[in-house]
Amino acid sequence: MQLYNLDHLRDLEAESIYIIRETAAQFERPALLFSGGKDSIVMSHMARKAFYPAKIPFPCVHIDTGHNFPETIEYRDMWMKEIGANLIVGHVQDSIDTGRVKEEKGPNASRNALQTVTLLDTIAANKFDACMGGARRDEEKARAKERIFSHRDEFGQWDPKNQRPELWMLLNGKKSVGENFRVFPISNWTEMDVWMYIVAENIPIPSIYFSHQREVIDRDGMMLATSDFIIPGPNEMPRKEIVRYRTVGDMTCTGAVFSTASTLQEVIDEISASRTTERGTRSDDKRSEAAMEDRKKAGYF
């Protein structure tokens, strides 16, 4: 007898495609937030599947801090061509130049917090009413409580205590003028699910996820790559290491891990054995215990 059971990856994929289609159906001007990281890559891959053979009926939006890994930008442009999506880029540099934000000073200056303003400005300029993000609930405690269709008030803010109940798969995207939604199609995926799916679907990913040699320094318990934005201090000795990245973020706050994993399978084996979460390599989350909750309330991804 034929068994009508879905493997967990196909179950998750079916749910995500449903959410992506629901977003396209319920909103007038949706967009997909694309960071160049594996989560948004998987999300955009499923967006392509969701509407095939038609093109993805919404643009992808990248908020460029100006401090990205060059490999990420190169990958982004390749991938957008591959999936046939329109790309809109919001530059944090523009927000700085127009005085919308002030750049942090000092050796730990990061443009991570500034992204929020650029993101909200980009949403406003393009009148997006729903932005899909690749956040997962397993990543972080504040995210574990967020809805799939997450309401934002007219200031782009999230109110964790006043979320709409979300039942079955009946997603409510109704809103008043000026309000918008963040939508999280891969809410229920874990880091491991994402990797297993990348293997199953043979999806290309940026090279920095694989082992390579790079000049790094130690700072705040992390290995940061030296670059135009990370200048070694007097006591920080740059050295060459064999590393890779578990997340793709801003160069100023994304730490490398020692790794010789140069294939997807080796990466998965390494994660299986790993004893730290991927966000442990992000200094933006270490600033305080409730760092993500505060940023999300302010309108962060």
Binding site: K161, L167, S274
Partner: protein, 413 residues
Amino acid sequence: MELLRFSTAGSVDDGKSTLIGRLLYDSKSIFQDQLDALEAYSNQKGYGVVDLALLTDGLRAEREQGITIDVAYRYFATPKRKFIIADTPGHIQYTRNMVTGSSNSNLSLILIDARNGIVEQTNRHSFIASLLNIAHLVVCVNKMDLVGYDENKFNEIVDGYKVLASKLDIKDVTFIPISALNGDNVVDRSTNMSWYNGPTLMYLLEHVHLSSDINHIDGRFPVQYVIRPKEDRYHDYRGYAGRVASGIFRVGDKVMVLPSGFTSTIKSIDSYDKTMEECFAPQSVTIVLNDDIDISRGDMIVRENNVPQSSQDLEMMMCWFGDTPMQPNGRYILRHTTKESKCVIKDIRYRIDVNTYHRNEEEKQIKMNDICRVHVRTQVPIFFDSYRKNRITGSVILIDEATNNTVAAGMIM
């Protein structure tokens, strides 16, 4: 590997967060940096030991109050299965969260404090599990360490629960004596309760039979989105994108489209990289028909010889979520699968007391967290199955037109 979605419910202090922390901890799903953060917080607060409950108490507001205030989702996997936990709060004002968290669950885990036995909350949680037609129920009698691992105490609670369950529509219940704090019978078999021969909680979660939870009989395909590529080579392509709600569809099947009633046959079932011979719930696919029929979002493709009920008058059980009470004769937007209709609440048949299961036919005031049976009249016909038969085509939400909030969940009788 299969996916099991389960929800937990418990009173404020019966150790639910500790139990989830224990499942995550003993299944090695907690990473070192999470433990480090926990230890730092526990030390700072002077707890002495690492408080596993902190793993699931996410938001800062909760930390301050020391209680869980909303549905939180947790993830872990064993070599056998992948699990998604909807962790729902147990206190009175948050029934809505429990209904929400249970709506996608295959299994509900109910905690009873061995010292207190069955309390009002137990009645309420069991009622909601039954109302939401959750296929499997697991009753964990927790804090067995505090009653000397006493078998009689456990049996007393089991007997009491069976009386309670007999008043409800509950199919499959398992009782497990545990200590979440010490790990007895959670992942590892307890050495303190040799009198218990049943499964540990983890064993049960890994082995409970799931495939029969999905309706593979009634073919229902709510159309979500119409795919019309703007390229010449796909000039005549009209694909109906959606997620199979139930049943199985095969190429060549005779189908009917509702509400038009037109019939056709399935030409192809498409997904991105392949065309499929058949599709089944809960797959997301695109169906192409052999005839050119006008179909849009909100329509439903069904098997010609097995159609859902169609009516503008729906009898349903309803859980009210809104801050403002249900308005008698109030107008709301009803969402059912991918379809929307204006609706009016024609009559409140009765309100049910979730603690005593008493039906009060005089009570017409329905406030947040109340559960009642209502008659709803919709503007356009709805194609539905009873919720007991089909969770997807039997469920609705009500949306307040003024605030856009989701104010109620309904299960069609």
